[in-house]
Symmetry: C2
Subunit: 245 residues, 2 copies
């Protein structure tokens, strides 16, 4: 618990509490602080670094939210475990795979304007039959088909024409257009593959697929994207870390 000496850069634009949290996280991940070990109390940690207790507390809170630390009143704060897999976040599969060092490859199957069906209209808060962008893509990893993705986007959100979606990824393009997604509702389920899905994903009809539907909302609470995706369950799964607060 004397722990590695943390360094603070007060001239950096990075908030102090975040600098501390980052270094703490590294120390936990690389094993400098063992799981189960108690860290110093907030007051002395703050004093060591020349911070106020609320700032130190805020730094610790970041890691508590991530599930790496656990507070116990009257006792102290302990490391729960070192290896925390990345939890489900508001990112796209493209980001996920790129970050994992894999070589994703995307094939655009179809893109164009279509009238919204009942599902799409409800999720995007539009009237049924309204025009929406429809985008179907097939994602590969190592030449193997991994996911079939069908996205719907209101036409007034962004223009999808003449965009190289095979390269950039949908979410990256939306970000570039100034669309900021803040909240999303996801629903994860399973079902058998249709004939078309089977052909594209190289599975037989009826083979189990992992499905995910996601509706994403921007700053203003406007629904900006609805996606229905199907994954090959032998190649993909969702991992998440739950924290009881």
């Amino acid at each position: 618990m004397p722990g590695p000496r943390f360094t603070l850069d007060r001239s950096s634009p990075v908030p102090l509490y975040f600098q501390v949290a980052e270094q703490f996280e590294r120390a936990i991940l690389d094993g400098s602080i063992a799981p189960g070990e108690r860290i110093d109390n907030e007051v002395s940690l703050a004093a060591d670094l020349g911070l106020s207790r609320p700032t130190m507390r805020q730094a610790i809170q970041v890691l508590v939210d991530k599930g790496m630390l656990v507070r116990k009143r009257g006792v102290g704060t302990q490391v729960v475990h070192g290896k925390i897999r990345r939890s489900v976040e508001l990112t796209s599969l493209h980001d996920d795979l790129s970050a994992a060092g894999q070589q994703p490859h995307t094939e655009v199957i179809a893109v164009g304007k279509v009238p919204a069906d009942e599902d799409v209209a409800r999720e995007l808060q539009l009237s049924r039959g309204a025009d929406v962008w429809s985008l179907e893509r097939l994602r590969f990893v190592d030449k193997q088909p991994l996911a079939l993705m069908h996205n719907f986007i209101p036409v007034d959100v962004v223009d999808l024409d003449a965009v190289d979606l095979a390269e950039t990824g949908l979410y990256a393009h939306l970000r570039d257009c100034g669309i900021v997604m803040r909240v999303a509702r996801q629903r994860i389920g399973a079902r058998g593959a249709t004939v078309d899905e089977g052909r594209l994903l190289r599975e037989r009809k009826g083979a189990p697929l992992l499905t995910m539907q996601r509706t994403a909302y921007d700053n203003a609470g406007r629904a900006v994207e609805y996606g229905r995706h199907a994954y090959r369950p032998d190649l993909y799964a969702f991992e998440l870390t739950l924290v009881d607060r």
Copy 2:
């Protein structure tokens, strides 16, 4: 934004920030504050209620974490959307269903001590072959089989003999024994049903099933439970709300 008048009870043991958060949440859920609407700024809200700004800020943060509010620096804080389905939490299926007003019914298929296989040993941080409790249950809703649950628990965590697990639910029993689960890692996937699973869940062999594996850790970072579950995807799905912070 003048908003409903909130009431504070300073003699209550419930923290002030939590009282405010609760009443705010109710106002959002019942539509008193419409989605997209901006709420008052933190300073004046705090002044209205006779609170300090940090306390008011903490109250708002609770709802930001839930995905109901979105902050924008220099602009204000907005309601994103009213209806937030419960996100995935550190609770059991039994709790989930009870809360939903359904009538869950559980059948214990098998319970006893077994040697840990490779998976179980790794997840529970035990040596292979060590004795663990094995508990297989089948859960029904409205007489329909919904989930097949297989849990493993280290023998030194709790005694599972002579417990009516059909009634109480596993997690409730663990809570009663003083086991507090703080963090859990989940992995959600899909696969085809085995013959045995098909028989119990009344599906044919190879029918798509939604699967979830969960390892739960207690305060000390000790793995206290590992579960492999299979759900009928026509009756169950995982919903979660993601928030970008």
